[in-house]
């Protein structure tokens, strides 16, 4: 707009000088946008060109994803991703069943079962599938992952469709050779994509605040212009005959008989004159800085390069760098982000004896905090490490358990592990080659543990479990023992335990039971309190160490008791109504008088460095919320493991898993359930909220933690309760939301983002995190694994959770500091410059005469002051990277936005005002008197060139004053800018132009006056800043300044350390501690968490549909299939 104005006759400056910088600015930003778009396009292309088999003319043709159409019949092979939402028609498995992994959608890794309609089972071969003619009627595309209603009309029969026949895009096929499906929804209509919200174009908060600053500047500009305009209207008078205000051709802007028009037109003149107050080049400079920051720094940081997956960090947008320096809330997914989704058998306690010498990450951190320096214990050479087993204790290995105090107990322990489960063995029946297929990794870990202890479970038939037992009768003897499985009492969330009744070959009847400590302890036989007590202590110890615990127990049964019970069991099993409930009741009858064997501790393997990272982030004032699709117990357990929750915290748990809610649910009236739930949630929330307020009012308020599950969250997010939820959760140090859907994750994120106006960051790895990643201010995706959706939606992609430390504390913080400095500096330099122009207006009869030459004005921003500030944006750092991480508290300055408050801006504006007055008045003083011994006088252009000269020097020196580090690039750029000005003016005023500026500079440098002024003006102008900075640092130091001083004698942490340790963290973190004896922490939390196959699939439970098939049956069938297949191969 300014450019347009400048081309009109009212302008005091020539148009080209205004248009040129503007077009430069526009051009640079255009190029940048184009480049980013092109990159995005490349990414989309890769996905779109993934190929899939589509049925065409009775043959499978390979077609890329983008060409897929609704109605196509596709074939998806094992481990393949579904390219669209498919209607499941047929599978190579018997019974039209297939297994899908939904980790990308909800983070759960246990396999889900999908079953095709019986009618369509046969369409497996291309020839057959070609005959398939059907019509699908279904609901409109929507974002609910857990519902689907529709009809398949085939051969004039209408068959109802349920979510069970729908294979969602983003899931992958497991344990099934291939399946045939018909495409129902493609592309943006798929449920996953519907769940991902519109990709919002994200701008950083700082930038939004910058907009407000610019707006303020516009207001200031307007005020300045208004003052000038009114002045000009009042000033203009015919009495100033030398202005020649006469004649018919007098233009309107100089016609004293119509003062209003004069003022109005002068307003526009002044707008062009004062337009440099708006820093146009600010945006492009900031973008350039951010672009280099992200492409050169973040993408190339060796600290954030993950060797194992060969993944460097990736900044997918350069808009949000400084946002990383102000994050206050982190929303993290659990599986794949915090944990590796790897369960490892880690420790156990048998008969009151602790086994396993491993040290968890938590314990290591604990030891470090307590200053225990334990010699690094080298892992004993006999440590067996394989998937699911990370146990280090020779006392139990290779039959050594026979020499332990209670070998019988050990034997029972191992048998319980080997028998009481629902795992399917797969592959060759040797310990090395066998693979266990379990619905949960915990189970697989337990069975693998039994294998390593010498109880190798290798075959399952519908009625038998074969275990190859070693060292049982005497050392070294190996025998195959078939155990007859009589009953399986399944796991579910109410029972929290699982039992198997088996018959030994010798006829002994035993019930093995494993489950949560609470439920097992209730059902133990009287006596043996010592064992119970020690085991309880062990459980607590494990819990505190962040391990997942299970209690093992057994009961010998006499055949009479069993027969009696079995009758009831069969009855219950065949009952038609309330079968579940009846089965539970029957199970109660036999699961009693148990004998405790011991307990197991499984490590839900955290990603490397997660607890340390979380602790660092917490010290940095960042609050971390875990949002997971997992169960409450698992989530709480991980929260413990990550040190998000500890026992000193007051926990609020809002759960839908209470007895009364369950009772209401069992009645099945949806309206009633909703009403009841709402009330229940409201009451719980209110209670928690009041409690929280009470706690906070107390003298030493404890830290609070909130745990809430998805169902409750659904009601708590209701507008009426939302405020209370927000208040409560903001008071909590950590919040864990479990069993939440992807959309809820996004809702929680935006609750904090919008409700609390805090800066949020979401981090996740799967498709289920996409909406959350997009909802947050900053989205971070975990890259390096298979799924790409999270990364594609994210703003930054890192390989490991722990890299957040670097991303936030180093890159984010620096970026924030730098951008703040750049923005405030731009503001300052343009204000200073324009104000001198403004003061001059008062001396020119408000006529809008420019003080500076056109070219001075337009090159001021693009040449004379541009480069140094970019150097600051690139190189400035207050403290080094390692100190940033050593003092995470420094990050709080970003959260509080210390460096871009209005107060900071006002201070700067004050100094800009001061400096402009100094420069203007000192220079103007020179024009009233002769300036050299020859008695000649300065004219307008001499004065203005001198003023500009002083401004360029002052402003550039001011930049050096606000640098915390000065590299040679600073020197070069600052020196270069000042030099560029001198070069420019030497040439510009040296070459003849029909302008006043010609030869002015040569006149100036011939006078002594010029040099004395040049010396005094910048120093006086910067005097105030210097004093302010000195006093501020001396008496009110910022934290970073103290840290600078503390480490002022240390050389910058050089790259040497980094290179030596390759990709390790700082040497401090990389040290591996082994702690033999840990301070025992008393804990109520025992860390029970167990993913069991009995638990209904999350999909089904959300939709209120019961999974029609019990996984146990499925497992059995699957095992038969695998057995059936083996001989065929042979």
């Amino acid at each position: 707009m300014i450019s347009i104005l400048s081309s009109t006759p009212v302008s005091p400056v020539s148009p080209i000088t205004n248009v040129l910088p503007l077009s430069m600015v526009l051009f640079v930003s255009l190029v940048k946008e184009a480049w980013e778009d092109w990159k995005r396009f490349q990414n989309d292309k890769t996905i779109n060109n993934t190929s899939v088999d589509v049925l065409q003319d009775q043959k499978w043709e390979t077609v890329s994803w983008k060409n897929l159409q609704v109605g196509d019949i596709v074939k998806v092979k094992q481990d393949g991703f579904f390219p669209a939402d498919l209607l499941f028609l047929a599978s190579t498995n018997a019974d039209g069943v297939c297994y899908v992994e939904t980790a990308n959608l909800d983070g759960e890794t246990n396999l889900k079962i999908r079953k095709a309609l019986e009618k369509t089972w046969d369409y497996l071969t291309p020839e057959k599938a070609f005959e398939f003619k059907g019509e699908v009627q279904c609901e409109q595309p929507n974002n609910s992952l857990y519902t689907f209603t529709g009809n398949l009309i085939i051969e004039k029969q209408t068959l109802p469709l349920s979510p069970n026949q729908l294979l969602l895009r983003g899931c992958s096929l497991r344990n099934t050779e291939y399946i045939i499906g018909a495409v129902v929804f493609t592309g943006h209509e798929t449920k996953v994509m519907m769940n991902s919200m519109n990709v919002p174009s994200k701008r950083s908060t700082l930038e939004r605040k910058l907009d407000r600053l610019i707006l303020t500047l516009f207001v200031v500009l307007f005020c300045m212009c208004l003052i000038g305009a009114i002045g000009s209207g009042v000033f203009l008078d015919r009495k100033y005959f030398f202005l020649g205000l006469r004649g018919p051709a007098l233009s309107a802007d100089m016609n004293p008989s119509n003062r209003f028009v004069v003022a109005l037109l002068n307003m526009f003149t002044l707008i062009t004159l004062y337009s440099p107050i708006i820093p146009i080049s600010l945006y492009v400079s900031v973008e350039m800085i951010k672009f280099i920051q992200s492409t050169q720094y973040i993408n190339n940081d060796l600290h954030m390069y993950h060797v194992e997956t060969n993944t460097p960090a990736l900044a997918r947008t350069s808009n949000l760098n400084e946002e990383l320096g102000q994050v206050e809330y982190i929303f993290s997914d659990k599986t794949g982000t915090l944990t590796r989704n790897l369960m490892e058998f880690f420790k156990c306690s048998i008969g009151g004896e602790l086994y396993g010498t491993g040290v968890t990450e938590i314990e290591m951190g604990e030891a470090q905090r307590n200053g225990i320096k334990v010699d690094e214990v080298h892992k004993s050479s006999n440590t067996v490490r394989e998937k699911g087993f990370n146990f280090d204790d020779a006392r139990l290995m290779r039959g050594a358990w026979r020499n332990e105090p209670n070998p019988d107990m050990c034997k029972e322990f191992f048998r319980c592990l080997a028998i009481c489960h629902t795992v399917l063995p797969e592959g060759e029946e040797t310990p090395e080659k066998i693979r266990y297929q379990a619905a949960s990794p915990d189970e697989a870990a337990l069975v693998a543990a039994a294998k390593n202890f010498g109880f190798f479970f290798y075959r399952r038939t519908p009625t038998l479990i074969y275990v190859r037992e070693s060292h049982v009768e005497k050392m070294g003897k190996v025998q195959d023992v078939p155990y007859e499985i009589l009953n399986v009492l399944e796991f579910n969330s109410t029972r929290k335990r699982q039992s198997v009744v088996c018959r030994y070959p010798d006829g002994r009847l035993v019930l093995y039971c494993k489950g949560a400590d609470t439920v097992i302890y209730e059902r133990l036989a009287e006596g043996n309190n010592d064992l119970k007590k020690t085991s309880r202590e062990h459980l607590e110890q494990y819990g505190a160490a962040g391990l997942r615990t299970l209690c093992l127990a057994y009961r010998d049964l006499c055949s009479d008791t069993y027969e009696n019970w079995n009758e009831k069991f069969i009855q219950a099993k065949s009952s038609l109504r309330d079968r579940e409930k009846k089965l539970d009741e029957v199970a109660e009858l036999i699961e009693k008088d148990l004998v405790l064997i011991g307990c197991t501790a499984i490590e839900d393997k955290l990603q490397e460095g997660v607890p340390t990272c979380i602790e660092t982030l917490a010290r940095a004032g960042i609050k971390i919320w875990v949002l997971t699709g997992d169960k409450m117990e698992t989530a709480i357990n991980i929260a413990y493991a990550c040190k998000l929750i500890n026992n000193d915290m007051k926990q609020f748990i809002i759960s839908s898993e209470t007895d009364d809610i369950r009772e209401v649910e069992s009645r099945g009236d949806q309206v009633e359930i909703a009403r009841y739930m709402r009330d229940a949630v409201k009451n719980q929330l209110k209670k928690c909220h009041d409690d929280a307020q009470n706690y906070l009012r107390s003298l030493s308020p404890p830290k609070l933690a909130l745990v809430i599950d998805g169902k409750c969250l659904m009601y708590a997010l209701d507008p009426s309760l939302r405020v209370m939820l927000l208040n409560l959760s903001l008071n909590c140090t950590s919040v864990v939301c479990c069993r939440v859907s992807p959309l809820q994750k996004a809702q929680v994120t935006s609750l904090v983002k919008k409700g609390a106006r805090k800066i949020t960051l979401s981090i996740g790895d799967g498709a289920n995190d996409v909406s959350m990643i997009q909802a947050a201010h900053v989205g971070v995706g975990i890259s390096g694994l298979e799924g790409m959706q999270a990364v594609m939606a994210s703003d930054f992609a890192i390989a490991q959770f722990r890299f957040l430390t670097d991303l936030l504390l180093v890159h984010g913080r620096w970026s924030y500091l730098r951008i703040c400095k750049v923005v405030t500096y731009f503001f300052y330099k343009n204000l200073t410059f324009t104000l001198t122009q403004f003061w001059y207006t008062f001396q020119t009869g408000f006529s809008g005469q420019r003080f500076y030459d056109d070219w001075f004005q337009s090159l001021y921003n693009v040449i004379f002051t541009a480069l140094p500030v970019i150097m600051v944006g690139l190189f400035d750092k207050d403290v080094s990277a390692s100190l940033s991480k050593k003092y995470p508290e420094l990050y709080k300055e970003g959260i509080r936005n210390t460096f871009f408050k209005w107060r900071v801006v006002a201070t700067l504006a004050f100094f800009a005002l001061y400096q402009s007055l100094i420069v203007y008045n000192f220079v103007i003083a020179s024009s009233t008197n002769s300036v050299d011994s020859s008695g000649k006088m300065f004219g307008l252009w001499d004065v203005s060139t001198m003023a500009f000269n002083c401004i360029v020097v002052t402003v550039n020196l001011r930049l050096l004053m606000m640098c915390d580090t000065i590299t040679r690039w600073h020197h070069i750029s600052v020196g270069g800018s000042i030099l560029a000005w001198f070069m420019f003016i030497l040439v510009y005023s040296g070459v003849y132009t029909p302008r006043g500026i010609y030869s002015v500079f040569y006149v100036l440098i011939s006078t002594v006056y010029f040099y004395t002024t040049l010396l005094v003006v910048p120093i006086v102008a910067l005097f105030g800043d210097f004093l302010f900075q000195g006093v501020q640092r001396w008496f009110f130091p910022y934290d970073y300044q103290i840290v600078q001083e503390m480490h002022r004698h240390e050389p910058d942490s050089s790259s040497a350390g980094l290179l030596e340790i390759g990709n390790q963290l700082t040497p401090d973190e990389a040290r591996s501690f082994a702690v033999a004896q840990l301070p025992r922490e008393k804990s109520k939390h025992t860390g029970f968490a167990f993913d069991s196959p009995g638990y209904e699939s999350f999909f089904a439970s959300q939709a209120g549909v019961l999974a029609p098939q019990k996984p146990w049956d499925v497992a059995r069938r699957a095992s038969m299939r695998s057995r059936a297949k083996t001989p065929r191969k042979n």
Partner: protein, 349 residues
């Protein structure tokens, strides 16, 4: 540019110590001091010592300069005589504008007393007040091309309303049109003092901005006479009064060099000045002053600069003393970790 530079200096180190030798498809970022943000840098910390010594340095440098320039300024002898009111005959006091526009003889005699011995050269200035030579309309009402080149004679588009009156005016524009036309002649003891009017303009103006072959044409031929007439037989490059006038002043109060008196004037001598009071400043209530001044290496009388230097130097000295006292009385140990906000109020925030 920076990138490559930094890489070359450090790549040798990087290659030898790396544990995982980069495979061909490794995405491991290359090490460079630039990308790892480890460029060597000095980290200035504004410690109290620095603050005190900086202030000290400023005072040490500034006070002598201030004293020197103040002395220089005090050496200057300046005589200022405001004459625009005094030069109106009492009869015309009520209608000054009509008087000045009339064609009668407007010579007016003034007597100046030399307060202090004035060494030659003595510069004669006229000073106008409330005259907006810096008004936007005024500043641009000239044609620099026309002043320099004969061929640009008709290049008068910027000069409105004084562009042409049938023929192009040379020099055109309001600036030239309003050329100052008061004249002064000085005498001492009835003996004429010659005023040298050569070399009163900047050399560059004379030689490069005003053409040697450009002669005034058609100048002051309009109905309204703005100011002085020009001798149309002298080229513009020698019309030094015009050249001085055309270097427009920055402020509405300005002095312009009129000439030089190249003899010493003794203390208490009386100088008679015959002023031809032609120029109209009465319509806009502008003052007219005649100034006689000597100069030093720093130019004319200018206490401002000296005072500024002295003030800043003195203030710096005072501040450095004050800081020293504070530093001795209540020192803050550098890098005292108890000043860290999280140590000051634990549990806060």
């Amino acid at each position: 540019m920076m990138n490559s530079n930094a890489t070359s200096s450090s790549s040798g180190v990087a290659g030898s110590t790396e544990i995982s030798t980069p495979r061909r498809n490794s995405k491991r970022p290359k090490y460079s001091k630039f990308t790892q943000q480890e460029l060597p840098a000095c980290k200035p910390i504004l410690t109290p010592g620095w603050v005190i010594s900086a202030f000290m340095l400023v005072s040490i440098v500034f006070i002598p300069i201030g004293v020197a320039s103040l002395f220089a300024s005090r050496d200057v002898v300046e005589i200022v005589d405001r004459y625009e009111t005094a030069c109106i005959p009492p009869a015309s006091k009520s209608h000054k504008v009509e008087y000045i526009q009339s064609s009668e003889d407007k010579t007016c005699n003034r007597t100046l007393r030399v307060l202090k011995r004035m060494k030659q050269p003595i510069y004669v200035y006229y000073q106008l007040d409330n005259f907006y030579q810096n008004h936007r309309r005024y500043v641009k009402s000239r044609s620099d091309e026309q002043l320099k080149y004969v061929r640009s004679e008709n290049d008068t588009s910027a000069c409105k309303p004084e562009d042409n009156n049938g023929l192009s005016i040379v020099p055109c524009g309001l600036i030239a049109w309003s050329l100052f036309n008061d004249t002064y002649s000085f005498s001492r003891n009835n003996q004429q003092l010659t005023v040298n009017k050569k070399g009163i303009s900047w050399k560059s103006d004379r030689e490069h901005k005003f053409g040697e072959k450009v002669y005034p044409k058609n100048f002051q031929n309009g109905k309204l006479i703005g100011g002085a007439h020009l001798n149309s037989s002298i080229p513009l490059s020698e019309q030094e009064d015009l050249i001085v006038w055309m270097r427009t002043a920055a402020l509405p109060t300005f002095r312009k060099l009129y000439g030089k008196i190249e003899v010493d004037l003794q203390e208490n001598e009386l100088i008679q000045v015959a002023v031809e009071n032609n120029y109209n400043t009465y319509s806009f209530n502008g003052k007219k002053k005649l100034v006689l001044s000597t100069t030093t290496w720093l130019g004319g009388k200018n206490d401002f600069l000296g005072i500024a230097y002295l003030t800043v130097g003195g203030l710096s000295f005072f501040l450095s003393m004050a800081f020293t006292v504070v530093y001795l009385a209540k020192p803050r140990r550098l890098g005292d970790s108890s000043y860290l906000s999280w140590n000051r109020n634990p549990g806060g925030h």
